[in-house]
C-alpha cells in the first residue's frame, strides 16, 4: 500500500483527504485512489490520462519521470504526493 496525499489547494473545489491505495506503479496507485473518489480524477489527469501540465507527482520525494504513462514504480509503503507545479511564479 502507498499513502497518497493531495495538494491542499484542491480542497476549495472538492474533498481530497489522504488515502491508502494499492499498486506497483503510479498509474495503479492513482487509479485505486480515484476509485474511492471518482470526481478527483479529472482534477489530476487530463483527457489523455497524463498528469495535468501544471501538476506534479512525487514518489518518496522524487518527481516522477513518466508523466504520460505513469509507469514509475511505487515501492511498498511509499509516500505519494500530488502537488501543484509552481509554474508562472
Amino acid at each position: 500500500m502507498a499513502t497518497v496525499t493531495f495538494t491542499a489547494n484542491l480542497q476549495q473545489h472538492l474533498a481530497a483527504p489522504p488515502i491508502e491505495a494499492a499498486g506497483r506503479t503510479v498509474r495503479e496507485v492513482l487509479e485505486a485512489a480515484f476509485q474511492s473518489n471518482p470526481r478527483l480524477k479529472s482534477y489530476v489527469v487530463d483527457d489523455q490520462g497524463a498528469i495535468r501540465r501544471h501538476m506534479v507527482v512525487f514518489v518518496n520525494g522524487r518527481a516522477i519521470a513518466d508523466r504520460l504513462g505513469l509507469t514509475d514504480a511505487v515501492p511498498e509503503g511509499a509516500e505519494v504526493y500530488v502537488m501543484q507545479a509552481l509554474s508562472g511564479g
Binding site: N9, L10, Q12, H13, L14, R39, S42, Y43, V44, D46, D47, Q48, G49, R52, H54, M55, Q84, A85
Partner: protein
C-alpha cells in the same frame, strides 16, 4: 422580461438581480476561480457555469435553482488520441486532444429535451442528451479533413465560440469558429459544410483572404424569430446573412469602428443589432477612451452611436465576445468589460445604468 443576470468573471460568477432599488449584485459563487461562460437553458431554466482551474482543468457546474446552489456535472472529455497520429492545425501545430475550455453552450430544440451543445477549445463540438450528465464528441466534424486548416484566433488553439440551433428544425445547427469560419449541419451533426462565403480576412495573405475556412468570426448570433438572419462581429469587420449563412455581406459604415468582439440581435427584429466597438486589433480599447454601443435598426445601412450613461472620458473598458446579451423582450441589454464594469439598458440602449465598476474582469454576461 428578465430581472436576473449571470456575469462570469476572472474571479467567480456573480448573480445580479433587479429589485426595488434597481440592479444589484445579489450573490457571488466560486470566488477566486475563473468563470469563463454562463449559460441558461431557456427550456427548463438550468443554469451552467464553466470554470477554468489553471492547474486542475476545465469544469462545468449546473444550478437548478437560479444560481443559489451548484453541483459539478461532467465536462466534455476528448477521446484517446490514436498513438502515432499526426494531427496538425492550420498553423502547423500538433493538436492536443485535451479540453482547454468550454467556449460556448446552446440548448437543443424544444423537441429534444436534455440536448445541449458545447463548443470547445481546441475545436471540438460536443453534444449531451442528458442535460450535461455526459458528453460525446461530434466525430463527423472533428474528423472532417478541413478541420486541419483551422488555427487559433481568440486563443492559442482553434475554438468554437458560437452555436446557433435553428428553432424551426433543431437538426440545423450553425457554429462559429476562431479561426475556422462558420460551419453548418442540416442533419443534427452527421455532415458539415463551411458557410462563410463573403467573409474577408485582412490578416491573411491576399490569396487566402476570401477563404471561408480561415475566417475569424469573433461571435455569431441568430435572430430567434427569423433564424435565417444572423450577424457576425468578425476580426476585421461586421458581416450579416439573411439566407441562413449561404452568403454573407460585409457592413462597412459603422461609426466609430467596425472592430469589436460582441454583437446582440433583437429576438424578433432581424435588422436590429447592437455592437460594442473598439479601436482595431493592435490597440483594443474604446475609440478615444469613450465607451459606446453601436445600434442599427435597418440591417446595417445606418448606425446610431449610443453613449447616454456610459463613461466618456479615459475609459478603457473592452467588451469580450460573450459579454453582451439581450433578453427575450428585446428591450433589455447588458454588457460587461475587462475592467469590471457592468451596464444595463431597459430601453434598447437609449440610456444605460451602471450596475458596478468594480467587478473582476468580465468574460460573459447572460440574462437568466
Amino acid at each position: 422580461m428578465s430581472d436576473r443576470i449571470f456575469a462570469a468573471t476572472r474571479k467567480g460568477l456573480f448573480t445580479i438581480e433587479r429589485g426595488a432599488s434597481g440592479w444589484k449584485v445579489a450573490r457571488a459563487a466560486f470566488l477566486g476561480s475563473t468563470a469563463g461562460l454562463s449559460y441558461r437553458d431557456p427550456r427548463n431554466g438550468d443554469v451552467f457555469v464553466t470554470l477554468g482551474h489553471g492547474h486542475f482543468g476545465s469544469k462545468l457546474h449546473k444550478s437548478t435553482d437560479n444560481g443559489e446552489t451548484w453541483k459539478e456535472c461532467a465536462a466534455p472529455v476528448y477521446p484517446k488520441k490514436p498513438e502515432g497520429l499526426s494531427d496538425k492545425d492550420g498553423a502547423g501545430k500538433e493538436v492536443d486532444w485535451n479540453l482547454k475550455a468550454i467556449w460556448s453552450m446552446a440548448a437543443g430544440g424544444e423537441n429534444e429535451p436534455g440536448a445541449l451543445w458545447a463548443g470547445t477549445i481546441p475545436g471540438g463540438l460536443f453534444k449531451s442528451t442528458d442535460s450535461g450528465a455526459s458528453w460525446n464528441l461530434v466525430r463527423p466534424l472533428w474528423d472532417h479533413p478541413k478541420r486541419h486548416e483551422w488555427f487559433g484566433g481568440g486563443a492559442d488553439d482553434p475554438g468554437i465560440h458560437s452555436v446557433c440551433v435553428d428553432p424551426r428544425d433543431s437538426r440545423h445547427v450553425r457554429i462559429g469558429i476562431s479561426c475556422g469560419g462558420v460551419w453548418m449541419t442540416a442533419d443534427g451533426g452527421e455532415t458539415w459544410t463551411c458557410r462563410a462565403d463573403g467573409m474577408r480576412a485582412e490578416y491573411m495573405p491576399p490569396a487566402r483572404q476570401r477563404d471561408p475556412n480561415i475566417q475569424d468570426p469573433h461571435i455569431m448570433v441568430q435572430c430567434a424569430a427569423k433564424p435565417d438572419a444572423l450577424w457576425v462581429q468578425h476580426h476585421n469587420g461586421i458581416f450579416r446573412t439573411t439566407d441562413g449563412a449561404k452568403s454573407w455581406t460585409e457592413i462597412t459604415n459603422v461609426p466609430p469602428s467596425v472592430f469589436g468582439f460582441a454583437v446582440a440581435v433583437h429576438p424578433t427584429e432581424p435588422d436590429t443589432a447592437w455592437f460594442v466597438p473598439a479601436r482595431k486589433d493592435e490597440y483594443r480599447y474604446p475609440v478615444d477612451g469613450k465607451v459606446v454601443v453601436s445600434r442599427t435598426r435597418d440591417g446595417g445601412k445606418t448606425f446610431e452611436t449610443l453613449r447616454k450613461g456610459l463613461p466618456q472620458e479615459h475609459a478603457y473598458d473592452l467588451t469580450f465576445r460573450h459579454a453582451l446579451d439581450i433578453d427575450s423582450t428585446g428591450n433589455r441589454l447588458a454588457f460587461g468589460s475587462t475592467t469590471g464594469s457592468l451596464w444595463v439598458t431597459e430601453d434598447q440602449g437609449d440610456s444605460w445604468i451602471t450596475v458596478s465598476e468594480h467587478l473582476p474582469p468580465i468574460y460573459c454576461v447572460r440574462f437568466g
